[in-house]
């Protein structure tokens, strides 16, 4: 990507020219009615005035300042930046879906409801669970729903001492934040030197105060916790429930079902595993799949199928002890359409191919880079590999610098400094959607950067050099907030 020096960076408001219009609208075709009193009306509406060609050029040039899947390899760990099929966009914008109003009666929305019903079933099948609610609007909201269900389960049993939720220290920040929002006390559990959750510490926590545990499987170290069956069993014997963060489900499609291993609730990120576009930070969708134990508590609504007059009829319902609604309507339906289309395109064989190739690609990177970067957990990884640049750090170059230098070579940075328990972590997730040639090119660049660290460290610490802006002053942004034009 080359810099775009000719594109001036004035904001929309700064580009406004009085008198220009960016859209044309019909004239009033009914008799003008009496307007409300002036005390109810606003005086001015400070929005910009631009013509349509100016608008299109502005936003098109802005878009060119971004790295994206469509333009760059984007090995951002735990984010599953895979290819987003164009077909899915086309289907989501079909008028039958996009122009379907959420307040229409169930009878008028049978196509949408059938799609949701089928998707609920597919996701339950993929996770080995008994039921699904598609209502959560993002992964973190799925987590919140999962924790609220666990809370409700204990409450209904009159078991109100269970206030503690155990979460490994490798967990994504949303896990403890979601547990706290659900009113739980969070206890962080260290990871063993194998990268699994410390079982001795878990044994101490497995008491009548334990509401549950939140586990990402495979975890954010890219490792499959092979103590998982014993861990679920330990939590269950103590009376707690097991929450699974499905952020890394791309590794497990068709390879293992969390429900079989003892998980009680799992959320999925349709914007990761199921290829719906990230859109620069949303929309996501975070369906929750549950075991029999938690079926009555699913967030509202869910779609059920009934047989009427020999035909199948779908309707929206609220489960009997539902934790309630978490959004205005029925979930991020447009995202559900894309995920459904993706699953139908792939079938079981394609889903298995995804996990297989995602894991091959990650291990290929691991093997190729293990002599250049430190490998903190020397095990086969799943869909992502965690490297540490601590050896490069010793030469005065931080993980952040390496991440920025990658941008100069046209690759997006890996996830950095996460998980928090790995020093100078670089978390690399190639996904199944990258070719061997791309991976080889990335390997060459990672090795080249390592050579630069030794030979010309300023080149790396001063990176990026070729992006539309060089390194930005984040401290200034926080110290002197300028949050609007």
């Amino acid at each position: 990507m080359s810099a775009l020096p000719s594109f001036d960076r004035r904001t929309l408001m700064e580009r406004s020219t009085p008198g220009r219009i960016g859209s044309n609208l019909p004239d009033l075709d009914v008799p003008a009615q009496l307007l409300p009193g002036d005390h109810l009306l606003r005086d001015d509406l400070p929005l910009p005035e631009l013509s349509e060609p100016e608008l299109v050029r502005y936003f098109t040039n802005l878009s060119r300042l971004n790295y994206s899947i469509d333009t760059n390899f984007y090995p951002l760990g735990s984010c599953t930046m895979k290819y987003n099929p164009k077909l899915n966009e086309e289907i989501a914008f079909m008028p039958g879906f996009a122009a379907s109003h959420p307040r229409q009666t169930d009878g008028q929305a049978q196509g949408s409801l059938q799609l949701m019903y089928m998707l609920q079933g597919y996701l339950a099948e993929i996770t080995g669970m008994k039921g699904t609610s598609l209502a959560p609007l993002a992964g973190a909201q799925g987590e919140l729903c999962g924790m609220l269900m666990i809370r409700e389960y204990h409450k209904q049993r009159g078991d109100d001492k269970r206030t503690v939720v155990a979460i490994p220290d490798s967990a994504h920040g949303t896990n403890p934040a979601s547990a706290a929002m659900a009113g739980f006390e969070v206890v962080s559990v260290a990871s063993s030197d194998k990268g699994n959750m410390d079982m001795d510490r878990m044994a101490e926590l497995a008491s009548d105060r334990l509401a549950g545990v939140m586990i990402t499987q495979p975890n954010t170290l890219g490792l499959f916790n092979n103590d998982i069956v014993g861990l679920c069993d330990m939590v269950h014997r103590a009376g707690g429930l097991v929450y699974g963060d499905g952020a890394n489900m791309n590794a497990l499609l068709g390879r293992a079902k969390l429900g079989h291993m003892g998980f009680d609730v799992v959320h999925l990120n349709l914007h990761k595993t199921f290829s719906t576009p990230h859109g620069g930070g949303g929309p996501g969708s975070g369906p929750v799949c549950v075991s029999d134990t938690l079926l009555p508590y699913l967030p509202s609504p869910i779609v059920v199928k009934n047989t009427e007059n020999g035909g199948e009829v779908y309707s929206l319902e609220s489960p009997p002890d539902s934790i309630g609604r978490v959004g205005g309507f029925h979930g991020n339906f447009g995202v559900l359409v894309r995920a459904y289309t993706y699953i139908r395109s792939l079938g079981a064989s394609g889903l298995e191919q995804i996990s297989g190739d995602a894991v091959i690609n990650a291990n290929y990177l691991l093997e190729a880079l293990r002599d250049t970067y430190h490998l903190p957990y020397d095990r086969r990884c799943m869909h992502e590999v965690i490297l540490s640049s601590k050896d490069q750090r010793a030469k005065g170059v931080k993980g952040l610098d390496i991440a920025k230098r990658l941008l100069d070579y046209g690759f997006h940075s890996p996830t950095m400094y996460f998980p928090l328990i790995v020093e100078e972590a670089l978390m690399i997730e190639p996904t199944e959607a990258e070719s061997k040639e791309t991976l080889d090119a990335f390997i060459d660049v990672m090795k080249a950067i390592d050579r630069e660290v030794a030979e010309d460290p300023e080149l790396v610490t001063g990176a990026p050099h070729t992006t539309p802006v060089t390194r930005l002053d984040e401290a200034k942004a926080a110290r002197h907030p300028n949050l609007r034009g």
Partner: protein, 450 residues
């Protein structure tokens, strides 16, 4: 169709070469950490379909819906059928926006970040507020987050919600705040208004002690405009934050909540150029007075400069957020519905200073034209004589569900059945997409359904 997926580049030769490089003979060895008895379970998912087959199948499924492209519709109630110029979809479909991730690497994400800054600017201007975040899941959850934020700001443990607020929004608030032991009081506006003017000893219940915020919807669920100035006075008289869920589209002409002194203003951004799409994805608007900035949930973009002094944008104030603060974060939210925020940004810019006012007035005039005509029909009357924008509630001669069944036969999707709030009530919405001919057809059809 069987065989390989066209979404995956690896060939069998590639796989063989890579497995060899890894040092394993078989793919299954890479999954050896999964206990044998749990590995490779049967996966019951239908066989793959080609793009051609899939497009046909999905077209048939979409065709099962009675959608707004085929019917005249007067449904609103939280999702609005407004016209969206072609530029909106064309621009958000650019892969550079569509397939980018959250702008954690600002040097590689200036497009998304600058558009986010534009979004925050215009949301503030539209709502009359000092600071806005980059977007929330939707209008309902944004309001629930405002309730939680009010409790953090005030250190109080109850939230008061007007009973004229959307019932689904109240349900979402309940889901969000219940687990934290926060109590919800649902109040009739008359319980709140003029309370401080009543003589001592003759006060009604009003706002309870320990109330963190008073929540009002503007316009309210049934379409009407509350006495915003009076609500603000009552709230602030008790040190209660005034929280408003506003329809941003109505703010094209109505006085924005910020001018009424609102402390936190949220809204459903769908009306700003997004398709109704059976309920999502939408975008929640979230804005506040500057003094509460550090208690706000969600992402925020800010302006700064690069090492060469050039203007650029970053995500900022992230010490509020879950990835830094974990269980002590202001919220667990980790998205800002960026693509939907972008759509709203393009929409607001395309409509602009005069366009949004014009289209809001189109809705106003058409809705009032419709309301006036319907109120003259025998058996029909307006539920409320108050001011409204584009939605109003009609009392029908029979339950609205029965009236709607008749309307559907005439090719019309009627209003929402609100019989649980108003006897035989129907909540109707008229927007710029409804022509005079559409409205006249509705009125004529209603006249035949007494």
């Amino acid at each position: 169709m069987t065989g390989r997926s066209h979404y995956i580049p690896n060939t069998d030769d590639d796989r063989a070469a890579m497995l060899k490089a890894i040092g394993v003979s078989d793919l299954d060895e890479l999954f050896a950490d999964i206990p044998d008895e749990y590995r490779n379970p049967k996966l019951e998912i239908p066989s793959p379909l080609s793009e051609l087959e899939l497009r046909r199948e999905m077209g048939e499924m979409a065709g099962e819906n009675h959608h707004l492209g085929r019917y005249i519709s007067f449904l609103g109630a939280g999702a609005y059928n407004h016209f969206s110029p072609s530029v909106v979809r064309a621009l958000i479909s650019r892969g550079e926006f569509l397939t980018a991730y959250t702008p954690y690497q600002p040097e590689a994400s200036q497009g998304t970040l600058q558009a986010t800054y534009d979004f925050q600017t215009m949301v503030c201007n539209l709502l009359g507020m000092e600071v806005a975040d980059a977007g929330m899941y939707d209008g309902a959850s944004a309001l629930a987050e405002a309730a939680l934020m009010s409790c953090r700001v005030t250190g109080r443990g109850r939230v008061a919600v007007l009973d004229s607020t959307s019932p689904t929004y109240r349900e979402v608030i309940s889901t969000y705040v219940g687990a934290q032991g926060i109590q919800i009081d649902v109040l009739d506006p008359s319980q709140v208004l003029n309370e401080s003017a009543r003589p001592e000893g003759n006060r009604r219940d009003g706002l309870p002690e320990d109330t963190a915020c008073l929540i009002a919807q503007y316009p309210n669920f049934l379409g009407y405009i509350e006495d915003m100035a009076a609500l603000e006075r009552e709230a602030h008289a008790k040190g209660v934050l005034f929280v408003v869920s506003a329809d941003p589209f109505a703010m094209g002409m109505l006085k924005p909540p910020g001018e009424y002194g609102a402390d936190i203003v949220t809204g459903e951004g769908q009306a700003l150029g997004l398709p109704v799409s059976f309920g999502g994805p939408y975008v929640g608007l979230f804005s506040s007075k500057m003094e509460y900035l550090r208690q706000m949930p969600g992402r925020i973009a800010g302006e700064t400069n690069d090492s060469q002094g050039r203007t650029g944008y970053v995500l900022t104030l992230s010490t509020r957020e879950q990835h830094i603060r974990r269980e002590r974060a202001t919220s667990n939210i980790c998205t800002n519905q960026a693509l939907m925020s972008l759509a709203a940004t393009i929409y607001m810019a395309a409509l602009g200073r005069h366009g949004l006012r014009h289209v809001a007035e189109l809705c106003y005039h058409k809705a009032h034209y419709a309301a006036s005509a319907i109120s003259h029909l025998p058996g029909y009357s307006l539920h409320d004589s108050g001011e409204f924008f584009q939605e109003f509630t009609v009392r029908c001669p029979r339950p609205a569900s029965e009236i709607n069944a008749g309307l559907l036969e005439a090719g019309i999707i009627g209003g929402l059945d609100v019989g649980d709030i108003v006897e035989n009530g129907m909540l109707l919405c008229v927007t710029e997409v409804n022509t005079r001919g559409d409205i006249d057809r509705l009125v004529e059809a209603l006249a035949g359904l007494t």
